[in-house]
Amino acid sequence: MDFSLSDEQQLLKDSVDKYMLERYSSEQRRGYMNAEAGFSTAVWSDFAELGWLTVPLPEALGGYGGSVVDTSLLMEAFGRAAVVEPYLGTVLLGAQLLSGGNNATLQARYLEEILSGQCQAAFAYLERRSRHQLTAIDSRAERQGEGFVLNGSKSLVLNGMAADVILVTAWLEDALALFAVPADSAGLSREAFQLMDGQAVANLRFDQLTLATDSLVCEPADSLALIQRVIDEATIAVAAQGLGAMETLLKATVEYSNTRKQFGQPIGKFQALQHRMVDMYTATQQCRSLLVRALCSHSAGEPQAAMDIAALKSMVGKLGRSVAEEAVQLHGGMGVTEELSVGDYLKRLMVIDSLFGDSAWQRRRFAELRYGDVA
């Protein structure tokens, strides 16, 4: 049993912390968010140069060969700074799906460019009626000659607008197939939106979109397992991101309470407020523990990993929101203004809760895994 970071992990952590300190103040962040792409292409180039885009990919495909511990380190730091660059969409979903598939042609076409920061990716899996269910979709592909023709639509695709390649789920006969769709395909239309936390998303329509024969990321029979595995790892990383945001909020709230004076003393001296901040601290510590637990069981390939991940995401979803709501309350009137970044973190944590199954959904998943098998 060992919960410490390796030397390499510590170096990675130090490097991302240093970068965020120098290049990601809340003013800088707002500048990045207001750029045309919805994020900073300069920051993205820095990520590429620092090697962060390669972290989860295997060495054989030009990656760093890192683990979920490494991606969680990065995402936690991104959470502390409320980063808006599409690391989740491009690397943790797009690149990971391509790398986990068995289509060497697609890997050769996209991965090197993604890792060097030249290519953006996205994963389009949700539709209007899906909510959090991967298989509740209507998009369909038919075989046509050597290739396929795709019809349907996808909702709220993370990084869907900037993506050069989009991984799309659609029924092919009875299997849920995963296709790589080039963003310049005829028959693809995109509408851009922004989520309240600054992330750029898009709704997509596929209208008689033709795909080449080599568009399948993996055998259709294997795609659901691949997607589930990639989403499981992304779920851990997103929870780590949420934890980073929670820690930032706790720290900011304590600092504010020690400086803001009312009734002749810092408000942090009031016991009623102290106890609320202790609850925020406890929530953060409990989420940190579940992160460590999920990282350990997932890394070891243990069967209870699925349960640990569900518990982690459910608790970060619920407690992340409650910590953020408390942070707003304890900042008083200033907490509800755009002047402070407290609200940015609240929005980010609300979005994190909704991603990959919200707190209630993940709790149901946990309960199914835990109580469902009792004879």
């Binding site: 049993m1 102290q274 106890h275 202790v278 406890t282 409990q286 523990s289 350990c296």
Partner: protein, 389 residues
């Protein structure tokens, strides 16, 4: 980062499981649970662990401890929880023992540690007073020097199992001139000394766990003082963080929840199993997820301590969250028992063995957020020392 066990650790786990299979059974559990046989059965259980050399996981080997790693301690506690085996009483092994081997002199170590390990000496804790609860430093039991003795006068309260105790470790006031934390001394007192009166306090579970212990001109040799006069607060503080860590009750909570789960799988509500009810599942899942988190919070604290860190406010966190979860689990257990949970003990068969225990655990469980420094005081500690407020 990993939580996997090495082959040696897995072998150790097997050894622990074999030991428990051979030395702990339902019958012993029932006798420990029955107030009438509690003391003899508890000592019997402690002696079995003593004979195996497994009575003091946290103590250094030189004092008779196991010298286990934190992982081994975790494996041991988990194995106990698997079979529903209770830990041995904490007063000697977890509370006064570490104070004696850390701050006591050689003579005190030789005199007291063996009885603590074998279970032959039953200890109780004399801290709280009618006027000093969570504000422990307000204690007023006086110890006045008279030659080679102290003369003790005052009253201790909430003294768990004082009716069984051979010795009490007590905080007494030897000086009133400075701050409340100064002028406190740490004394070991033989419960058979003339002038000591133990009066029972019956708790809301109907049982006699608690007592008031009064001291009327009780003579205690100065040789029974731990460390220096007026420095008792320092020694007690070191002990309190151990106590709080031990109060998290994670293994106990797991036991309660596994009983609840078994029972909920049998109990029918309108023909369907309680365990299949989504509302029940959601409530149980909330407790279990928090407990899964707290288990790793404890492991993280242990890992920090192993690297030389001191358990300060982390132990407050464990106490705070652990006792909240104990109460949540006890509430759930009571609710699963339904109206049977409200049946008072009777000689008759009431059709339900689960109820009596769920009622008693719920009722006495109300104390856990109060003892060891109330949870509100733990929050004050975390706010001040953890968050810097």
């Amino acid at each position: 980062m990993h939580a996997t066990f090495s082959p040696e650790e897995l072998a150790f786990r097997d050894e622990v499981r074999v030991f428990l299979r051979d030395n702990f059974d339902e019958q012993l559990a029932a006798r420990i649970h029955n107030p009438k046989t509690f003391k003899t059965a508890t000592i019997e259980w402690q002696k079995k662990r003593y004979d195996k050399g497994w009575v003091a996981p946290g103590w250094p080997v030189e004092h008779g401890g196991c010298g286990w790693t934190d992982t081994q301690k975790y494996i041991f506690d988990s194995a106990l929880a698997e079979v529903g085996a209770p830990d041995v009483p904490p007063f000697g092994l977890k509370m006064v023992g570490p104070v004696i081997y850390t701050f006591g002199n050689d003579e005190q170590k030789q005199r007291f540690l063996p009885g603590i390990l074998t279970g032959d000496t039953w200890w109780c804790q004399g801290y709280s007073e009618p006027g000093a609860g969570s504000d422990l430093a307000g204690l007023q039991t006086r110890a006045e020097r008279d030659g080679d003795d102290y003369i003790i006068n005052g009253t201790k309260i909430w003294t768990t199992y004082a009716q069984y105790a051979d010795w009490i470790f007590a905080l007494v006031r030897t000086d009133n001139s400075g701050k409340p934390q100064q002028g406190i001394s740490f004394l070991l007192i033989d419960m058979r000394t003339p002038g000591i009166t133990v009066s029972p306090i019956i708790a809301i579970d109907g049982e006699h766990h608690l007592n008031e212990v009064s001291f009327d001109n009780v003579r205690v040799p100065v040789a029974n003082r731990i460390g220096e006069e007026n420095q008792g607060w320092t020694y007690a503080k070191a002990l309190l963080s151990h106590e709080r860590t031990a109060l998290s009750g994670i293994a106990y909570c797991k036991q309660v929840l596994s009983k609840v789960r078994r029972f909920a799988a049998e109990e029918n509500d309108d023909g369907s199993r309680l365990l299949d009810d989504p509302v029940f599942q959601a409530r149980m899942a909330d407790i279990e997820m928090e407990l899964m988190a707290l288990e790793y919070t404890e492991l993280r604290v242990l890992a920090t301590v192993a690297q030389g860190g001191a358990p300060g406010m982390e132990s407050s966190l464990l106490k705070l969250k652990g006792t909240e979860l104990q109460q949540a689990a006890q509430s759930l257990q009571f609710d699963v028992a339904g109206l049977y949970g409200s049946v008072l003990p009777t000689e008759h068969e009431v059709g339900h063995a689960f109820g009596d225990r769920s009622r008693r655990e719920y009722m006495y469980g109300r104390a856990c957020t109060i003892y060891g420094g109330s949870n509100e005081v733990q929050k004050n500690i975390i706010a001040k020392f953890g968050l810097g407020l």
